[in-house]
Symmetry: C2
Subunit: 322 residues, 2 copies
């Protein structure tokens, strides 16, 4: 695996005006899983030779991998403003450390920087990659808007939820796979399999995130348990509970959703209702179904050490504790 962190460190942000570039440097230096560029490069490796790629091959795919990571961090910078989130990866968010205007403008510049990386994709493959990237970016903005809309909707079904997270999370992973593979020469059937893997992986990943927010251990999860319950976030757990509850449990749940003054008690009570309704089990079943679908897509790819990594990654994501 190419050291994506090293490539990110080598991006030069010591440019003027400092007020524009310093927040970008700060954000990209704050770590994160680097999941998206890792997927793009591993997809390329799966197609090319199932092992380390280097020289021209890595030069070809690396800019797109960086574009995906820079783009992802742009979405976080703007989302944090919109959500009024104060901490990200253990550090103050950009709008807290600087101000809202800085987060807006430096975020805009990050989006442009993503396209600057993308412009380095080999010319023959640029039009297709640019189209997929634009389609992906649109999906993420649409997903974010649906997420906002859901806050004010009384009826949100599991299908609505799955559509929303497909746009907000999965299309980025799916396109990371497809773009990486395409640049490495994947044929259409392989592109489809790579895309499908990323799409199902993303859905499973987001469902696990929702489950961990309730059933994780705060020490390993890295944030307080029950945050989603406290703010009535329409997670797949809450949506499933509202869809499947009998009249009595539903009334009890709705009662708790209105409570804003007894946080600890609320987390315990809602978790107890989830337990009673078997919500965790239902959600895990959906997650496992998507994980299985992701793994099935790998059958259409060359079987080598890179596809093995992708298999391990899918299995690790759904058993992760953080």
């Amino acid at each position: 695996m190419t050291d994506i962190n090293k490539a990110i460190e080598q991006l030069d942000w010591r440019k003027e005006p400092r007020g524009l570039y310093e927040p970008i440097e700060y954000t990209l230096a704050s770590g994160g899983k680097r999941l998206r560029p890792t997927l793009a490069i591993t997809a390329a490796e799966a197609i090319i030779n199932g092992g380390l790629i280097n020289g021209d091959a890595i030069d070809d795919v690396l800019p797109a991998a960086l574009a995906l990571e820079v783009f992802h961090n742009f979405t976080l910078m703007h989302d944090d403003v919109m959500d009024r989130a104060e901490v990200r990866r253990g550090r103050p968010t950009v709008h807290v450390k600087w101000n809202d205007n800085t987060a807006i403008l430096s975020g805009d510049q990050m989006l442009i920087e993503a396209y600057k990386q993308l412009a380095k994709v080999p010319a023959g493959k640029l039009p297709q990659v640019l189209n997929w990237f634009n389609e992906m970016a649109t999906g993420i903005c649409e997903g974010q808007q649906y997420d906002v809309d859901f806050e004010h909707m009384s009826q949100v079904g599991v299908d609505d939820y799955l559509k929303m997270i497909e746009l907000k999370t999965s299309v980025l992973l799916a396109n990371a796979m497809r773009i990486g593979g395409y640049i490495a020469g994947a044929n259409e059937a392989q592109q489809k399999a790579l895309y499908g893997y990323g799409l199902h992986l993303g859905i499973a990943f987001q469902i696990q995130d929702d489950i961990l927010d309730v059933y994780g251990e705060s020490r390993t999860f890295g944030k307080a348990i029950g945050g989603d319950i406290r703010c009535n976030k329409k997670t797949i757990l809450l949506i499933t509970a509202l869809e499947t509850a009998d009249a009595e449990s539903k009334a009890e749940l709705l009662q708790w959703l209105m409570a804003t003054d007894r946080d600890e008690e609320k987390v315990a009570a809602v978790t107890e209702i989830y337990n009673r309704l078997g919500v965790r089990h239902s959600c895990e079943a959906i997650m496992e179904d998507h994980t299985a679908q992701a793994l099935a897509e790998l059958e259409h790819l060359p079987q080598n050490s890179a596809t093995e990594q992708l298999r391990e990654l899918a299995e690790r994501l759904v058993t992760r504790k953080s």
Copy 2:
């Protein structure tokens, strides 16, 4: 001249989620000079045959022209949030009509929509156009940041100001010209001339904007006169006055800059100091110099009805009253 307004109207924003696309439709329907796409198309016409272009030729350049207009409107949507501007083109700004989050997210989507248009540029020319577009977009973000920085700097010189407006305004006009001409087949010397025309035109345009804010007639200018003076905006007039004033006038000017309670009196007094120092004349001289440089660039282009339009446009911009 191709009807750029018609092409903009034909962009389809009746898509879901409405919360994302409605503000984009609202912004693009609010008019404006359509200067940037007009420049791109006129540049192409100047290169191709000096007249109306149609068929393949217009199909080739129109997407880039639309990308420039959509991009420009994206910058306005985010700038209005950052500046807390409440009215744009006689209508409430997006963050006022909806809210800040909507203006941020729909603005992001507009930037992506600009790149979607750009992806339609003929494949052989896409890499160069994408690079120029990215360079331009970066310049505009940098210019916006310098503009913000200037607010807090005690010493800003005319050269700093010219550098700032070159980034914030001129690179967009310059790249509109260069991109339009390049797609139409301009050679390197012609690309350089087109770029130079746009660059100098943009600087002259912005200086005239500053002058009109003080010396325009409110009826034709479309907004209240003296707005820049009221908020101590570091225009070329104020910067020139501070650079050229004798000690006494400078002290008087600085005194007025601190006044926040006597708006009408302040506008009259500062204008009187400008008059005494001959600031308007100095600024007009710089503007006319840039207009002359813009016109000189046209000499390197084919002489036809399109270059004639560009000549008239430059002359009209510096004598405009609004």
